[in-house]
């Protein structure tokens, strides 16, 4: 796992994706930070965090699109799959590489916190829980992106597929509100990624939401392993 992880981190930087991701994330987060927090003279960062949900929907697919589709296209996956490593080590190595870069990106919120601390008192605990929420959400989304990347050998398809899937997850609430069947509606509301995330931005740390995001990440990584397992057997 370590070898794959290190290679992927390196590849993020040599391919330039890391710079694009970080730059775009910094631009948007800084924009929302200055509009929602600095401009109104508040230390409440909830508005920025709420907006970042949409930003990462666009950015995470960029981060994950390459991970498996490129391997398939360049036929390098044959090297990985015939090496003495388990499938889960391959998948997790790549997943954590994406998650690491994502974490580097979102860590910028602490710098915003530092900037705010020049002007007033910052609720560091709330900030930390918001950061954690963003990390958990990204963890789940990265797993979805990695899974979609394993289904295709075209990076663009992987990116667009990832973007559409994450958008659908974002819109679960909207879909739920237009569903007439009560039990289905309730089910969809509990599956909502956004309302759970919104709770965090309001300063509520809900352990069941933590579990929800973590299990989502585990589930999609498991699916990715199954994709390779299935391909091997068909």
């Amino acid at each position: 796992m370590g070898a794959i992880y290190r290679r992927e981190i390196g590849a993020f930087f040599t391919s330039g994706i890391a710079y694009v991701f970080l730059a775009v994330f910094y631009i948007f987060s800084a924009y929302f930070f200055s509009i929602n927090t600095l401009a109104v003279g508040s230390t409440n960062m909830a508005g920025m965090f709420a907006n970042l949900f949409l930003v990462i929907i666009f950015l995470i697919p960029i981060l994950t699109m390459r991970l498996f589709s490129e391997e398939k296209k360049q036929k390098t996956e044959q090297g990985l799959l015939t090496a003495p490593v388990s499938l889960s080590a391959i998948v997790l190595g790549k997943y954590f590489a994406a998650l690491t870069l994502y974490t580097i990106g979102i860590s910028v919120v602490f710098i915003y916190g530092l900037i705010l601390s020049l002007f007033g008192t910052v609720a560091w605990l709330t900030l930390l829980s918001n950061f954690l929420a963003l990390l958990l959400l990204g963890g789940a989304f990265c797993a979805v992106g990695v899974f979609i990347s394993s289904l295709t050998e075209n990076q663009v398809v992987a990116a667009v597929g990832g973007f559409v899937s994450l958008m659908l997850l974002y819109m679960i609430d909207v879909i739920a509100s237009s569903v007439g069947v009560t039990w289905l509606q309730n089910f969809l509301y509990t599956m909502s990624f956004y309302s759970r995330y919104y709770e965090f931005t309001c300063g509520i740390f809900n352990l069941s939401s933590v579990l929800f995001y973590v299990s989502c990440a585990v589930l999609f990584n498991f699916f990715t392993v199954r994709v390779f397992e299935k391909r091997r057997w068909s």
Partner: protein, 321 residues
């Protein structure tokens, strides 16, 4: 050591590999020969655990590739048909990555240096793989397979894309490696198999069509009952005369080689040498023999014959048995 028992792979209805069995001992170099699409790569992919078999078993040093894949894979160095190279890495970084990926226990620096020297890629180790020529890429692919010094080497068309000198180098290298490794290499180039391999398995349409040593395959099937002869004489009469010889199975006139002079291909009953008889007939009629040779069956002929779907005649089969 590699043991393959009744290995079969179906893709839907298509049988890519059908019931293949063979064993390769330590220190043996086995050549896989067959036309494109015969099932060579599929077999190799099953041996290396890239794809699973529909039924049957493949044991690498006694370990089943499906039951304990990680252990079995650690015995194998595999060079696939398309080398699994990350184009955006330098050769050095890539080999270091493979070294880590294989969880290699050997001293890193000296081992990588040895491998680079063996494959003659020392001079390009700091270049990006995407900027290398096909020959260099192929050699980096081979180097990647050699990392960790695995006891079993599986090489899928290792000399594709190399220039003649490099081909000779790689062949010498494989031969040297074959002394203390178990090697399977595939090719559709016969001279290569003949030059390198102790043993040849010819695969066609997913089944083993022949399995013997290279020398046996090419030597034993040399036959003196099939003759090509160029006779200076009227075609119809010559044909008539040859047909009258005892034991001749068939004769046909080939193309006109010189003005009015034809070449005749003829086949006698197996084991019968008819050359003297032909000579006698020609002399009796006052014609002249301008050339006479027995038709030797090279590996090439056997290969073509097998892969064209013809059955081999009985004594050729015996010769191979």
């Amino acid at each position: 050591m590699i043991e393959v028992r009744n290995l079969t792979k179906h893709y839907g209805d298509k049988k890519a590999v059908n019931d293949i069995s063979f064993t390769v001992e330590d220190g043996q170099i086995l050549g896989f020969l067959g036309p494109n699409g015969a099932g060579k790569s599929t077999t190799m992919n099953m041996l290396t655990g890239y794809i699973s078999s529909t039924s049957g078993q493949a044991l690498i040093n006694g370990v089943d590739i499906l039951e304990d894949p990680i252990k079995a894979k650690s015995y194998i160095g595999y060079l696939p048909e398309i080398p699994p190279l990350y184009l955006d890495m330098t050769v050095k970084a890539y080999l270091n990555f493979v070294f880590d990926l294989k969880k290699c226990k050997l001293p890193r620096k000296s081992h990588l240096k040895d491998v680079c020297t063996l494959c003659k890629i020392k001079d390009v180790e700091n270049r990006l793989i995407k900027n290398l020529s096909k020959g260099y890429k192929q050699r980096v692919g081979l180097a990647q397979a050699l990392i960790g010094n695995p006891p079993v080497l599986i090489l899928d068309e290792p000399t594709v894309g190399l220039d003649p000198k490099q081909i000779i180098d790689i062949r010498t290298l494989i031969k040297r490696l074959g002394k203390n490794h178990t090697v399977i290499l595939s090719s559709h180039i016969l001279s290569e198999i003949q030059a390198v391999c102790d043993r040849v398995i010819i695969i066609n349409k997913g089944v083993v069509a022949a399995d013997d040593t290279a020398t046996n395959l090419s030597n034993k099937v040399t036959t003196d009952h099939r003759v090509v002869v160029r006779i200076d004489g009227p075609k119809a009469e010559v044909l008539q005369a040859i047909r009258s010889i005892e034991n001749i199975k068939y004769v046909r006139a080939d193309m006109e080689r010189e003005a009015g002079i034809f070449e005749y291909e003829l086949e006698a009953e197996p084991g019968v040498d008819v050359r003297r008889e032909i000579n006698r007939v020609v002399r009796e009629n006052g014609w002249n023999i301008l050339m006479l040779r027995t038709m030797e069956m090279t590996l090439e002929d056997i290969f073509l014959k097998i892969t064209m779907g013809e059955s081999i005649t009985n004594d050729e089969k015996e010769a191979k048995a």
